[in-house]
Amino acid sequence: MVSIVAKVSKEDLEMVAVLSRLEVPEQDKEKHLRQLDSFLQYVDNLSTVNTDTVEPLAHVLPIHNVFREDEVRPSLDRELALSNAPLKEDGYFKVPKILED
């Protein structure tokens, strides 16, 4: 098995931060790169394991979809559902404008 560990580039880190919707301040980038590098070096021990014939295991239980009848049943009251919203208006969650005029 070939080691897949590569030094994480600053661009990689910035790409992942965008995907994560997280800002990584310029002064913290070096620290993050160092920590990510040492982490990836550690987990590279997996590359020594032969898994050519091994199926991935995402879940210990034999997971299958659970269906139920599509029936009307009581649900959370609207006010209650909105009670933790940072911004709301007229019974809706309020978000910054997404579409241009």
Binding site: I4, V16, S20, N45, L46
Partner: protein, 487 residues
């Protein structure tokens, strides 16, 4: 008479005999909380008034001659990632600082039928990410045995409260050892049930294929009863097991005759803490002297468990925590547009460790790295599970240390995330394989810090784990010692 230092079964007996009232008990535990909380800081929120109301209600039921359930009127703490209707559930995060759940977690609904007294919400590592409770956005919790040390984590508040006497019992959650390791560090009993044994509905999700809620208690008897109270199938959690919940009190018998115990050679390696090794080997010899058959077994993929866990758990966490977008609940920081609002909200309101794990998780899941990291981890996860399947073909339970060392000093590991991750070597395999495990005290270090023994069982065989733990517990008195917390 002080009551905070008794187990729930002792207190239940006193309540049944009407020698004490729940109000008296609750006031005593609250007094203990006031004595210790300054130094220990086990709680995020103490719900004093409702606790006393619940105690009064319990006393009325008892006076009316109604059947008294096991935890009726007995005060306990709930980890702050378990949703409590109308009571703030913060996950020790600024993100959920003001979140008031409009519903109860299923475990809370189940517990309510026992009419316990809820003292409040226990501190934890933010979003359950950590092993020391130093990652709480609010304050660290201190170890009742030595306030300079961590209580373990992430259920550090729950474990510390039970150890200090500021709760008789507690609920925690365990994704990679977050019940068992703090139980070990604080000298209490903690159990992670089989994946699916307890409903996760209303548990704030960290890593959904690994998370389980479980009990933290003074002894194995209370642990069995608390597990009984919360276990079972739930229509709101499609991963909860439909298999019948056995009567765990039947496990409270001293009997390990002929029980086959496996000792994994990969868990006892050169360089392990000498005091931990001595205490655990003594416990194994004790079980052998009580009639168990002890044999060495091999779990050859143990050395990969940390890598597998720290790829899978952050990957699931990165996905689960996408929901914190500043819209439907949780904090929000304004921005120039919607993406800026989300980015600012998440950057300001998540703590360092949470952000670190989101970055690791999304890196492992991102195009170009998915196969090498995430998929590879899932494959090795299967090999780890197969190690255990094979081992359980030969033995009934597996006995190991819970943690490689006793509690360490606050601040000792916080600058080295990888070093902290390596501490989880004995606990994460159970989550990856979905197995039940208990930690119970098996000795103390020279510095008088507790050492934990971990007993691992077959899937859904909590009964044998509890029986083994009970038998060992009854053969010594480590569990009867309580930390002397200075006021």
């Amino acid at each position: 008479m002080r009551l905070y230092n008794k187990s729930a079964h002792e207190l239940h007996d006193l309540l049944v005999k009407k020698e004490i009232s729940s109000v008296e008990l609750t006031k005593d535990v609250l007094a203990r909380l006031d004595e210790t909380e300054n130094n220990i800081q086990a709680y995020i929120d103490v719900t004093r008034e409702t606790a006393l109301q619940e105690a009064e209600k319990a006393d009325k039921n008892i006076a009316a001659g109604e059947a008294i359930s096991y935890f009726e009127g007995i005060p306990g703490a709930i980890k702050d990632n378990i949703c409590t209707k109308g009571v703030k559930t913060t996950c020790a995060s600024r993100m959920l600082e003001n979140f008031v759940p409009p519903y109860n977690a299923t475990v809370m609904e189940k517990l309510q039928t026992e009419r316990p007294v809820i003292l409040g919400k226990a501190n934890m590592d933010e979003f359950a990410m950590g092993g020391s409770t130093e990652n709480s956005a609010f304050h660290p919790t201190h170890n009742p045995w030595n306030a300079d040390c961590v209580p373990g984590g992430s259920s550090g508040g729950s474990a510390a409260a039970v150890a200090a006497g500021s709760a008789i019992w507690a609920l925690g959650s365990d994704t990679g050892g977050s019940i068992r390791q703090p139980a070990s560090f604080c000298g209490v009993v903690g159990m992670k049930p089989t994946y699916g044994r307890v409903s996760r509905y209303g548990l704030v999700a960290f890593a959904s294929s690994l998370d389980q809620i479980g009990p933290l208690t003074r002894d194995v008897t209370d642990c069995a009863h608390l597990l009984q109270a919360i276990a079972g199938n739930d229509k709101y959690d499609s991963t909860s097991s439909a298999s019948e919940v056995p009567d765990y009190t039947k496990s409270l018998v001293e009997d390990v005759k002929g029980l086959k115990i496996g000792i994994p050679k990969e868990f006892f390696v050169k360089g392990m803490d000498a005091e931990v090794e001595t205490a655990v080997r003594d416990a194994i010899r004790k079980l052998e002297s009580l009639g168990a058959n002890v044999q060495e077994i091999s779990l050859p993929h143990t050395e990969y468990a940390i890598s597998v866990y720290y790829l899978i758990a952050p990957a699931e966490a990165a996905t689960n925590l996408e929901r914190y977008d500043g819209v439907s609940y949780g904090a929000r920081v304004d921005g120039v547009d919607v993406v800026d609002m989300m980015t600012k909200t998440r950057s300001e309101k998540f703590g360092e460790e949470v952000k670190r794990r989101i970055l690791i998780g999304n890196y492992a899941l991102s195009a170009g790295y998915y196969d090498a990291y995430y998929l590879k981890a899932l494959k090795v996860r299967r090999l780890i599970k197969e190690d255990y399947d094979k081992a359980f073909g030969q033995v009934d339970v597996i006995v190991t240390p819970t943690a490689p060392t006793p509690a360490y000093k606050i601040g000792e590991m916080s600058n080295d995330p990888l070093k902290m991750y390596l501490q989880d070597i004995y606990t994460v395999p159970l989550n990856l394989a979905g197995l039940p495990g208990i930690s119970l005290p098996c000795g103390y270090s020279g510095q008088k810090l507790p050492i934990g023994l971990q007993i691992i069982g077959k899937p859904l065989d909590e009964a044998t784990v509890l029986r083994t733990a009970y038998t060992y517990e009854q053969s010594q008195s480590f569990h009867k010692e309580m930390a002397e917390v200075k006021a």
